[in-house]
Symmetry: C2
Subunit: 293 residues, 2 copies
């Protein structure tokens, strides 16, 4: 299967499962279920769930075996976007060209829609079939750690606290790791766990996820500086305008590019133990990382 | 053990466990962990966790066997208070005489502290030892259902949507069930599940929790109308001033009192199968419900 066909087929799988797993938009109270679905079906590329499914497949599992986990990470990702967009956080009115949740439903309901998506994420994960090496408890703890106050939420806290301030290289690396790499790595690890991966394979997936997540964010930062808005499909220089620290603003463009190349190499290298079973993950890494920067 | 001694000893148990389970206030990023602890240790009476422990004991379990579940429900309860108090929700500046989270830490951090407490609730529950009749998945699903978009969050949604509007008796009963009775019932059920309760016993605990939760809320509504602020320890008539629907405003005082008595009787009756093992739960029900109304 060509990569484009793979992406489309796995996205359909995830979209259908999310539609199945979420309460209908007519379930009472209807507003909250409409709001949950509005953000969940707002045109996301399903990057994290597709990585989750691909990791399960690389470990010899079926994509279906990882569907609950894949949908759980997408719900966590969507909740974090809704809350990050709130006026009291990043105050964004649009995301992917559509009005954000609080613009459509009001702030109170946006907070609650995020809460509900976070809650249902654990419900979905609790419905996943436990594997010989990975109990339901292990799956849940994997996600609570990545989504909790030491990673995903920590990243947003430091981001909030450092707005308009000078950020050190170490702080910036932590923000990237916490806000992007942690959930991305956990998406990939949960895929492996869903396929009952061995411990060494899970470690390889972990290293792959870390490198991929960081590389992805560094390249995003570079593109925000070097690309025109037209090419980017969103407002270029937005981070700079918001006085947000970025890789190029802290480390300079040259070092950022060098770092991106190094991380990309690390991501591919981590897949070595998978041999040809890692082909799809290599392809996905190229798809995400090979951009003109 | 006298009830007062029991309450004090179980509260100490819960407080110590929460202190153990939560990240230190110095764990980085410190602000979020300070904020989580600020609300969690703001003087709550630990009603839900104590009911959880008492239910486990009524089923022959040790209080320690239900500690993870007890702390999990307290984290969910605290998260819901933090988010409900936000300016975009009920906009409360004080709770139990202390400034609310967003007054101390700012709105952004209050949203995140709530998110983090909700997340850690599932982490704690995933650490509870599963029982022969109740898997980790069953425990998690119990809590996600009560805390999710059909109950706890649904109650807050309808509450938000009905402010200043005329509320029907059915809607009011749903709000009470969703906002108060659901999590209270689940606290009690999780206690029973932690002690590997039989299915009929769990059903009795369920009926007890429903009746207790509703009675508690109806009596609260009555007291808000009939008591002076001095006796109540908080501003009387607050609900009326906020044009919130209450039991007396919808059903009248007489019918409300009759309903409170009926629900209180139902709560006690539900405990019949426990015989003398239900003594502590009877006492707790009296403690919560026997007030001058």
């Amino acid at each position: 299967m060509l990569l484009n066909e793979y992406l489309a087929s796995r996205q359909r799988l995830v979209d259908r499962a999310l539609d199945d797993f979420l309460p209908r938009a007519t379930t009472k109270p209807a507003t909250i279920h409409k709001a949950m679905r509005y953000s969940l079906f707002a045109g996301g590329k399903r990057l994290r769930p597709i990585l989750c499914l691909a990791a399960a497949e690389a470990c010899g599992g079926s994509p279906e075996s990882a569907l609950h986990a894949a949908c759980a990470v997408e719900c966590v990702h969507t909740y974090s976007l809704i809350h990050d967009d709130l006026p009291c956080m990043d105050n964004d009115d649009f995301r992917r060209g559509k009005p954000t949740s609080h613009k459509v439903f009001g702030e109170g309901l946006a907070v609650l829609a995020g809460d509900a998506l976070l809650t249902i994420a654990f419900e979905l994960l609790a419905q996943a079939t436990p594997r010989a090496r990975y109990s339901t408890g292990a799956l849940i703890r994997e996600l609570t750690t990545a989504a909790g106050s030491r990673w995903l939420i920590a990243g947003q806290v430091i981001d909030l606290e450092s707005e308009g301030k000078k950020v050190s290289g170490r702080e910036l690396q932590f923000i990237h790791k916490a806000k992007t790499a942690a959930l991305l790595t956990t998406s990939i690890r949960l895929g492996g766990m869903s396929a009952n991966s061995t411990a060494p394979r899970l470690q390889s997936l972990n290293d792959f996820g870390q490198a991929l997540g960081l590389a992805f964010q560094v390249i995003d930062d570079i593109l925000d500086v070097t690309q025109t808005s037209e090419k980017l499909g969103k407002s270029a220089g937005k981070d700079a305008a918001a006085q947000k620290a970025t890789y190029p603003s802290v480390f300079g463009l040259d070092r950022s590019r060098k770092e991106a190349r190094q991380l990309t190499n690390n991501a591919h290298a981590a897949l070595a133990p998978f041999g040809k079973n890692g082909a799809r993950l290599h392809e996905l890494a190229d798809h995400l990382l090979v951009r003109e920067y």
